[in-house]
Structure formats: structure tokens, C-alpha cells
């Protein structure tokens, strides 16, 4: 939970709440872009960011994103984070 994971912003989902859809290694996840906003929100589409527990924390370049993903895969952290994203989606649906 301490390491961020790279993802690409593909769509703005809620400009009022500053939410966007990110593609994280093929998993789609809605994230907050509040921390990286610097100009019009549409300008973020296509950008690579480092995402930490659902918040894009830093804009990075594509090469850095690829290198970080590889490092996280080596540590098993990428797989773990993607699993947590899926769990998170399930938690919203599950009944008590």
C-alpha cells in the first residue's frame, strides 16, 4: 500500500469532483486527479501518472512509467495492487 503504481489517464469522468478514469496495466480504475491538476482538466487525458490508493500523485513520462511498472512487477507489488483494485470493486457490491 506504500508504493504508487503508474497508470494512464484515459477519460475525465466527473470534472466537479476531479475524477478521471485511469488504465492501470489493463485494469480500469476511477482516480482523483486533484493533486496533479495544473490547468484545464481535459489536458490530463493521455498523461501517465503515479497513482497511490486511488489518487494520482505525480505526472511522469512514459519511459518512467514503464520502468516503474517493471520494478513493481519484480517485487510482486504491481500484481498485489491490481488485486486490491479488484477487491475494492467487489467490496462495493458485496452485501453484509
Amino acid at each position: 500500500m506504500c508504493l504508487g503504481i503508474p497508470g494512464q489517464i484515459i477519460e475525465i469522468t466527473d470534472p466537479d469532483r476531479l475524477m478521471a478514469m485511469a488504465d492501470v496495466s489493463g485494469v480500469r480504475r476511477e482516480v482523483s486527479v486533484a493533486c496533479i491538476l495544473d490547468g484545464p482538466i481535459d489536458g490530463l487525458i493521455g498523461k501517465w501518472t503515479l497513482i497511490h490508493v486511488g489518487f494520482a500523485m505525480s505526472v511522469i513520462d512514459e519511459a518512467e512509467a514503464a520502468a516503474t511498472l517493471e520494478a513493481l512487477h519484480g517485487l510482486g507489488e504491481a500484481q498485489e495492487t491490481l488485486e486490491q483494485m479488484r477487491e475494492g470493486a467487489k467490496a462495493l457490491e458485496a452485501g453484509a
Partner: protein
């Protein structure tokens, strides 16, 4: 150099390893008189073991594993309080998966869930917020846990809940800060620390200046580092070079992600929602002044401590001793290696953790268990002598 071929850039790694060996020799570092470098972050601990960096680097370099795994420093009392909140009727308790298996005095959150409590693993506090929107009839509590990397996420979620006027969402705040325990360790006469590898993603939020005291007051070098093996090797080299040249500075090896002054939006959200507690308890380190955060009174409606009268919000503090025979406190402060704990690998394993250091992959006991100890079997009290 068995593992080096596995690196993304083995050639760069070899050059760095040779350079590290050269500078270590120039300093006169030997296995008997090693240079002690503490990696603060549990993510770095994990990477060092995974890539065998402790074995690949010059034998005169001794890595001391720091307190930077938020799950590992969580006192048992906090786990008990989570269980107590989670077991109340009408509560949906949400947490990062990492905290599920941390033992409490009676049970972990995983066991409480098996016993019927509505506990849900979420990826983000935003998921907890969404649960609160979907279940207005329930109290949704999020277990806010983690260092400065995670703190902005709960601060921003609380601000969002306030904007929406949600009344059934609260955070059990256990956020902690990286610099205070480092000050404690540096002030401990038993610790020998010659330099630090600083946490990358924490620094992305707070910048590099909160570490100035390490260089200025204690005269030790610190280099903020990324997570690729080559990042870590380069940072070790930068620390050694500072030592050789008699410098003590805060350097930033990870400038491609870490801005000097951090992330302004995150810092503003943290300052708006949280304030430092007078002190906070760390497993193995005890109470540390101003090391934890609590929710400011203006957001009291979102504070689970106030809502449930629990934790530091309780009338009487909960006093829970750590289980007998565990070496966690000694490992936490670098006085023994995990293999020096009598329970390591026998009664305490990743499947059945007795101590929190065995729970998360960022905990040093779990890393030792998974990847095997380093070349010296147990330099036990070396640091204390």
C-alpha cells in the same frame, strides 16, 4: 553476481557495484567495521532483499532496516480498537488489505470478518466514501493508516465527504510521519547509523526538506531514492561518497518523481484536515512526540475516535503489552536481525504471523523469511556495541 543479470540494466548495475566497492574501500569499510546505512522505507527493504542488494554490495556495507512499514509499527491496541469498531451493529469497516492479518490481542481483522463482522478490503478511501453514499443507513468507517504518501488520500476524502454533507462516513485516523522516529533512532546512543536512504514516495508528498535535520543537526547524509535496483545502488553510492568526502547533505536521487518542495495540493489538504497529536505509540519504539496525526475539531463529524469514543478519543488509554517472547521491538530498532528472534520461522511465519513485521511484504521478518537472511548469520548486538 548471480542476480545482476536479472536487472533491467545489468551493465549499469555492475558499474555501480564496482564504484560502490571502490568508495567503500577508500572509507575503510570492512565486515568487522561496516558502514551502517539505514533504508527507512519498507518498500526499499523489500527491494534490497528481492534483488539481493545486501549480498551484491561490498561486504563492508551493512543495511539497517528502518521503521518505514506502517503495518509493522501499528500497536496491538490499535488493531483491538479496529475490531471493536468493526463488531458494532450497523458498521461497515473498511481497510487496506495489508492490515487484515495484523494480530490483535484477541483477533485480527481477518478473524473478526470470519466471525461475522462486516469488514471490507478496499483499495482506496474513495471506495469507503462510495460505500457511505450507497448505504446511508450504515456507518462506514475507514481505517486511515500509513505515512505521508497515504495521508493526503484520507484528507481529501474527508474534505469530499464534508462537501457532500455525508453524515455516515468517518476515518479512524492512525496516520504517522516518517521524520519523528528517525530523530528518535538518531538520538539513541545504542544505534550506529552512518547514513540514510530516504523514502521515495513519501518524499513525493513532503519534499526533501523535512529531512534537513538529519544532515544539519546529526551530521548524517541522506539520499532520497527510487525503487528500481539501479536507483538503490546509485543512492548507496551517493551516501558513501558523502561519507568519504566528509559531507552531510540531503540529496535527491529520485528527482524525476520527487519535487524539492513536495506536492502542494496534498500538503494543503493534510494541513486543513489534520493536526499533530502530542504523541503517538509505535510498536517497538514506544510513544514518540508529534509523530501521529489526528483530525482537526472542525472535521470532528468525520472522526471515528470522537464518534465511537475509541483510541486516543477514549477516556482511558488502552494499555496492551506485546506478546511474550517476540523480538519485534529489538528487530524494529535494529538491535537484532529477524533470525535472532527465537520465534522466527518456527512459531512466527507469514502464514501465521505473531508479530506485524512478519505480515506485510515490506516487513523485515517477512523479507528475511521469503528471501533468506543475509551473509552474516546474526550480527545480533553488533549495532549495540
Amino acid at each position: 553476481m548471480r542476480y545482476v543479470e536479472e536487472f533491467r540494466d545489468p551493465k549499469a548495475a555492475k558499474v555501480l557495484l564496482a564504484e560502490i566497492a571502490k568508495v567503500a574501500d577508500e572509507i575503510g569499510a570492512t565486515p568487522e567495521k561496516p558502514v551502517h546505512i539505514m533504508e527507512i522505507c519498507g518498500g526499499h527493504t523489500h527491494a534490497i532483499f528481492r534483488y539481493g542488494l545486501d549480498r551484491l554490495t561490498h561486504p563492508g556495507i551493512e543495511f539497517i532496516h528502518g521503521p518505514g512499514c506502517p503495518v509493522c509499527v501499528l500497536p496491538m491496541a490499535r488493531v483491538d480498537e479496529c475490531v471493536e469498531i468493526a463488531e458494532q451493529d450497523n458498521v461497515i469497516f473498511t481497510t487496506f488489505g495489508d492490515a487484515m492479518r495484523v494480530p490483535g490481542t484477541k483477533k485480527s481483522l481477518l478473524q473478526a470478518k470470519a466471525d461475522g463482522a462486516d469488514i471490507r478490503m478496499v483499495y482506496s478511501p474513495l471506495d469507503a466514501l462510495e460505500l457511505a453514499r450507497r448505504h446511508p443507513e450504515k456507518e462506514v468507517v475507514f481505517f486511515g493508516l500509513g505515512f505521508e504518501t497515504t495521508t493526503p488520500s484520507t484528507a481529501l476524502s474527508i474534505q469530499q465527504a464534508a462537501r457532500e454533507g455525508l453524515t455516515n462516513f468517518s476515518v479512524f485516523c492512525n496516520h504517522i510521519a516518517v521524520p519523528p522516529p528517525i530523530r528518535v533512532l538518531l538520538s539513541d546512543p545504542h544505534m550506529v547509523l552512518d547514513g540514510f536512504i530516504g523514502p521515495g514516495h513519501v518524499s513525493m508528498v513532503i519534499g526533501i526538506h523535512p529531512y534537513d535535520f538529519i544532515a544539519e543537526e546529526f551530521g548524517k547524509p541522506i539520499v532520497v531514492a527510487g525503487f528500481e535496483p539501479v536507483d538503490l545502488l546509485q543512492s548507496v553510492l551517493m551516501v558513501l561518497t558523502q561519507i568519504r568526502d566528509g559531507r552531510a547533505e540531503v540529496e535527491n536521487q529520485y528527482a524525476r518523481v520527487v519535487p524539492e518542495h513536495g506536492n502542494p495540493v496534498s500538503l494543503a489538504a493534510i494541513a486543513d484536515v489534520y493536526e499533530p497529536r502530542p504523541s503517538f505509540a509505535w510498536r517497538g519504539l514506544g510513544e514518540i512526540d508529534a509523530s501521529g496525526l489526528c483530525i482537526r475539531p472542525k472535521y470532528a463529524a468525520y472522526d471515528a475516535e470522537a464518534k465511537f469514543g475509541i483510541g486516543y478519543g477514549a477516556k482511558r488509554a488502552r494499555d496492551v503489552a506485546e506478546p511474550e517472547g517476540t523480538g519485534c521491538a529489538l528487530v524494529m530498532t535494529g538491535r537484532i536481525k529477524p533470525t535472532g528472534c527465537a520465534l522466527f520461522g518456527t512459531t512466527c511465519t507469514p502464514e501465521n504471523p505473531l508479530g506485524a513485521l512478519m505480515v506485510s511484504s515490506e516487513g523485515v521478518c517477512a523479507a528475511y523469511y521469503q528471501y533468506g537472511g543475509r551473509r552474516t548469520p546474526d550480527p545480533a548486538t553488533e549495532a549495540a556495541e
